[in-house]
Structure formats: C-alpha cells, structure tokens
C-alpha cells in the first residue's frame, strides 16, 4: 500500500498531459505571435507526447488495471464510471502517444515553411487528447464527445495546406463523410438509449442481460447497426472507407501517418470496449435475434479484400499506402469477429498487437512519403526509382517498414499477423483466416513493387543531391528500429494485450 494515494482523476494523466501541452502551445504562440520558433513548438509538442507516453508506461508497470489479486491496483474509474483506466485503455494510450511523438518530430521539417506552426501542433495534440480520451471512455456520452474531439481537429489538419487543392479537397471529403457518420453514430446512440434507458456501458449490458430490453429488439438492433457505421468511419473500414484514400493522399504526409495509425487505433479501442462491455454476444443475440459478430466477419473480409485489391492497382505511392491502411483495418477487425468463440480474448489481443506494430511500421512508411515530398521527388512509383543510391539509410528503414507491413518473417508485422491467423483458426473463423493469408500474399506484391523501385530501378531523371532533414530522418529511423526492437519484447507485450482483452471480456 502506498503512503499516499493520488486522486482518481490523475489516472487520466496521459490525456490531461496531452491537453495541457496543446494549451501550452497556444500560450507560447500568444506571447510572441509575430515570430515563430519552430524548434520550441515542435520540441514542446514532442516533449508533451513523450511525457504522456512515459506516464502511460509507468501506469502499466505500476500495475494500474491489473487485477488486485495479481498484485496490481485494479481498474481505476473516473467521474462516476464515465471513464475507466484499465489495461486496454493504457495499451492504446501508449500506441497513440508514440505515434503522436513520431509525427510531431517529423513535422519539424515537413511543415518548415508553413505559416501557422503553433496552431498545427496544437491541433495535433488536441486530436491526440481526443484519441487518448476515447481509449478510456466508458459511456456512450464520453465516447461520442471524445470521438468528436479527435475528429474536429483532424478535419482542420487534413485541410491545413490552404493553398493546396489536394489538401482542401481531402479535408472536404473527410469532413463531409465524418459529419455524416457522426450523425449516424449519434442516432444509433439515441436508439440504444431508447431501448435500454442508459448510456453507461455496463448498465446497458445489465439491462440487456436482465431482459428489460426484450421488447425493443428492433430498436436495439438498428442502434447497434448504426454504431457499427460510426466505428467503420473512424477505423476507415467498409462501408465508410471512402474518405480514406482522398484524405490520406491530400493531407500533409505526417498527418496521413497520424490519422492512419493513431486515429485508427482509437477507433478500434472504442469498438472493442463498446461491443465487449455493452453488448455481450449471447445476451444481445437473444434480444435482437442476430449475432453481431457476423457483421464483423463480413466487414473484416470485405474490408481487407477491397483495401488490398485497390492498393495493388495504384500508381501513386501515398494512395497505395492509404488503401493498404484500409486493408490493415480489415485485419484488425478480426479481433471483433472472433469474440463470440472461446478464444475471444486471444483474437482480440492479437488484433491489439497488430495495431501496436502497425502504429510503428505504417507511421514509418508514411514518414518516408513525407521525406519524398520534402525532397520534392514526385508521387508515383517511377518517381521513387533509385532513391536508395542517394539516401540508403532512409530507404533501408522504408524496406523494414514495408516488409513488416507485408508480414515477412522475422519482422514484427509477421508475428502479429501470425498471432491473428492462429487465434482466428482457434476461434473457428476459417474463412477469415484464409482471407488474411491470401490478402497478405497479395500485399507483398505492391509493397515489394515500391522496394524494387527504390532499390533496384534506375532513376528516370537526374536528381540533385538530397538533403537530410534531421527530424524526418530521426522519426523514420525510430519507427523502423521499433518495428525490429519489438521482436524480443513481443511475448511479454502480447501477454499484456491478451490480459487486457480478457479483462474487458469477462
């Protein structure tokens, strides 16, 4: 027993630190609005996200969320159970803060000539606050507010290059589909509230469990369907994936990395929490007459197939990565598809592991695109030809990230996919497991196409020597190193993920 106990709300420290950093950035900017100190702003943003990361890791090591029987401190609930800080929340807070730190470091160079530096970093940190809050939100109210807190800054971030037509167009499409899907999500919440009379996740499960909602099966079923729509938007999976290619292609590349890694992870954490805590499979199926995991099985297969096939036909590198990101959302959806079976915790833990590894490898791949845009080499595969002769370090890091995305052993991406594959087979999802293997094989084609362009092909035109921007290089190398460095830690981290999944499933 500790000598003194911190007040309960401090359990949300990672999110609070991110919000405080965002406000601190505004203060720094308002002290001297006419001058911009890029280093100070990027440094503050990075320091803030690293501090949040440190606190989240410290919480995990100190046993927050671990059951008290195992010597931990148990789950901490905040504000009358509107937020919970458990292993699931901390795991995703770590993913989100890591990606935020990488993105802010990379933005130091990428946003060099941009006029609104402080606003840019503040918006990134505010979006990260929303995502960290999503990880801990435990009621449909807090989930919706956190979702909007992460979405609204993201719209502005995608469209932040105000004179760039692609950026504005991407921002517009992201905003339009985001607004539509948040309206659908909210209507779904209102229907679930109508059927159960509650918005807090455990009490919804109680009402469904004790049969009070039996007369409202249709209302509840429609509500759940609309909630799935909201999650599909946030995770960029079918049927609300249309924004992803445009928004990722148009946005500044570090923001594409941020949205496709952190925002996707945040979408998955609310999906995991809502569907495991509020709608237990068996009881919900007896009320609405349908097993909701069927919806996720279909979505997972369709999403991964559509994402990978569309990625294989792209000529534009950033767009290829955008579609591959849709494909990876399909892999992670397996985590929800397999929950009903006995091995549910394993499948969900595997999906969490995949999202963690994906946070590094996908951020690394997008940061290489950021580097290429910084150099101004062009956008298509041909434009990337022969880059390795001039920038071998960056291209080696890109190679690691891409092979990991494709799932080549022994890199991190292989182990998380292998873990997903075996646990999906254990859960009896043969079709999904087969789709995973087929799609991974297909993805090797387009990833290796980029590696071939960079390492083997001759440049189509002579280039001037390429500069080595220190921030972008550092972030890219760290992302690649972490993809490899996760290997020795893979076992313990996977245990943490499975424990977290077990905790919310029971």
């Amino acid at each position: 027993m500790a000598i003194f106990e911190l007040p309960g709300w401090t359990a949300l420290a990672p999110a609070v630190l991110l919000a405080a950093t965002a406000l601190a950035l505004f203060v720094i900017d308002s002290i001297s609005p006419t001058t911009t100190n890029r280093g100070l702003l990027a440094g503050t943003a990075t320091a803030g996200s690293l501090a949040a990361l440190g606190v989240a890791v410290w919480f995990v090591l100190a046993g927050v969320g671990t059951p008290t029987i195992d010597g931990g401190r148990g789950v901490i609930d905040v504000l009358d159970n509107q937020f919970v800080v458990d292993q699931l929340a901390l795991f995703f807070m770590i993913v989100i803060t890591v990606v935020t730190a990488l993105v802010t470091v990379a933005s130091y160079d990428y946003m060099e000539d941009h006029a609104y530096q402080a606003e840019y970093y503040s918006l990134v940190l505010l979006a990260a606050t929303g995502m960290a809050t999503m990880a801990a939100a435990n009621s449909l109210v807090t989930i919706f507010i956190a979702l909007e807190l992460s979405s609204l800054p993201s719209y502005a971030l995608v469209a932040i290059l105000k004179d760039n037509r692609g950026s504005v167009e991407g921002g517009l499409k992201y905003f339009l589909i985001g607004a539509l899907s948040s309206a659908i999500f909210l209507y779904g919440i209102s229907l679930v509230y109508g059927a159960t009379g509650h918005l807090q996740l455990e009490t919804i499960a109680d009402v469904i469990g004790n049969g009070d909602a039996n007369d409202y099966g249709g209302l509840l079923g429609l509500g759940i369907l609309m909630l799935i729509g909201g999650f599909a938007y946030k995770t960029a999976s079918v049927p609300f994936h249309f924004w992803a290619p445009e928004a990722y292609e148009g946005a500044p590349a570090p923001i594409s990395a941020f949205l496709s890694s952190a925002s996707k992870a945040a979408g998955f954490v609310i999906a995991f929490r809502v569907f495991t805590e509020a709608f237990p499979v068996a009881q919900t199926a007896s009320v609405i007459g349908v097993d909701w995991t069927v919806a996720f099985i279909v979505l997972a297969v369709v999403t991964m197939t559509l994402g990978n096939f569309a990625a294989a036909t792209q000529e534009n590198v950033k767009r290829m990565l955008a579609y591959s990101s849709i494909g990876h959302a399909g892999y992670a959806l397996i985590g929800l598809a397999g929950i009903s079976a006995d091995g549910g915790a394993l499948v969900m833990g595997a999906a969490m592991m995949h999202l963690l590894v994906y946070g590094f490898m996908n951020t690394g791949a997008f940061l290489f695109v950021a580097l290429a845009e910084y150099w101004g080499v062009g956008r298509t595969f041909e434009d990337y030809n022969g880059l390795a002769r001039q920038a071998p370090v960056a291209c080696f890091a890109l190679g690691i990230c891409l092979f990991s995305l494709a799932g080549i052993p022994p890199l991190g991406g292989f182990w998380s996919k292998y873990f997903l594959y075996t646990s999906a087979l254990d859960a009896g999802l043969l079709v999904v497991a087969v789709a995973l293997v087929v799609n991974s094989a297909l993805s090797l084609y387009y990833y290796s196409r980029l590696i071939k362009a960079v390492w083997i092909e001759d440049p189509i035109a002579e280039r001037d020597s390429l500069s080595q921007p220190i921030g972008l290089y550092a972030a890219l190398v760290v992302a690649a190193v972490m993809t490899v460095a996760l290997l020795p830690m893979f076992g313990p981290v996977a245990d943490t993920a499975v424990n977290a999944a077990t905790a919310v499933l029971t």
Binding site: A159, G166, P245
Partner: protein, 101 residues
C-alpha cells in the same frame, strides 16, 4: 395528455431520413451542412423523448452536449468551405476532383 413516445420516434426518423436524402442528393456543400444538422437534431429529439419516457435525465443532458458539438462541427465545416471556395471558386461538392481512384 402527453403524446405517446412512438410519435416522437416517427418524427425523428422522418427528420433523419430527410437529412440523409438531402446529403445524398444535394451538391451544394452548405445544404449538405444543413442536412447533417437535421440528422443531429433528429437524434436530439429521440434523446429527449426517451429521457422523458424512461424518466431519467441522461438523454436530456446528452442532448445539450450534442448541440454544442454540432455547433463546433459547423464552425470547422464552414472554415473548410471557405478555403474550398478560395481554391475552387465554388462550393459544389462535385467540383473538387483532383484525386480520383
């Protein structure tokens, strides 16, 4: 005599459908924003009617939060529409087609 709850749900579903129809058919981004607003308010009607029906205040309080969020969303949306107009000289959502799959 109070109105039965199902009429409120019918009203909100009608509003929601009108909003959805507007989004699917209109090309002007401003009308798009108004349609989204209709859909959000349809959900608000539901929340308030159900709060009355269930006899707790959760839904009503949430409806207040929703209105604030809807206002914030429109503010961001209008900002994006302004830069859209500056770049494309139009707020027709079918005009920006620099990226196609």
């Amino acid at each position: 005599m109070a109105v039965e709850v199902q009429y409120y749900v019918l009203l909100s579903m009608a509003l929601f459908s009108i909003g959805l129809f507007g989004i699917l058919t209109r090309r002007n981004a401003l009308l798009f924003l108004m349609s989204v607003e209709l859909m959000l308010n349809a959900a608000n009607i539901n929340l308030i009617a159900f709060a009355f029906y269930h006899g707790n205040l959760t839904g009503q309080v949430f409806a207040l939060f929703t209105m604030a969020l809807a206002a914030a969303e429109v503010a961001i949306g209008l900002g994006i529409l302004l830069v859209l107009y500056r770049n494309f000289r139009d707020v027709d959502v079918t005009v920006p087609t620099t990226m196609r799959w």
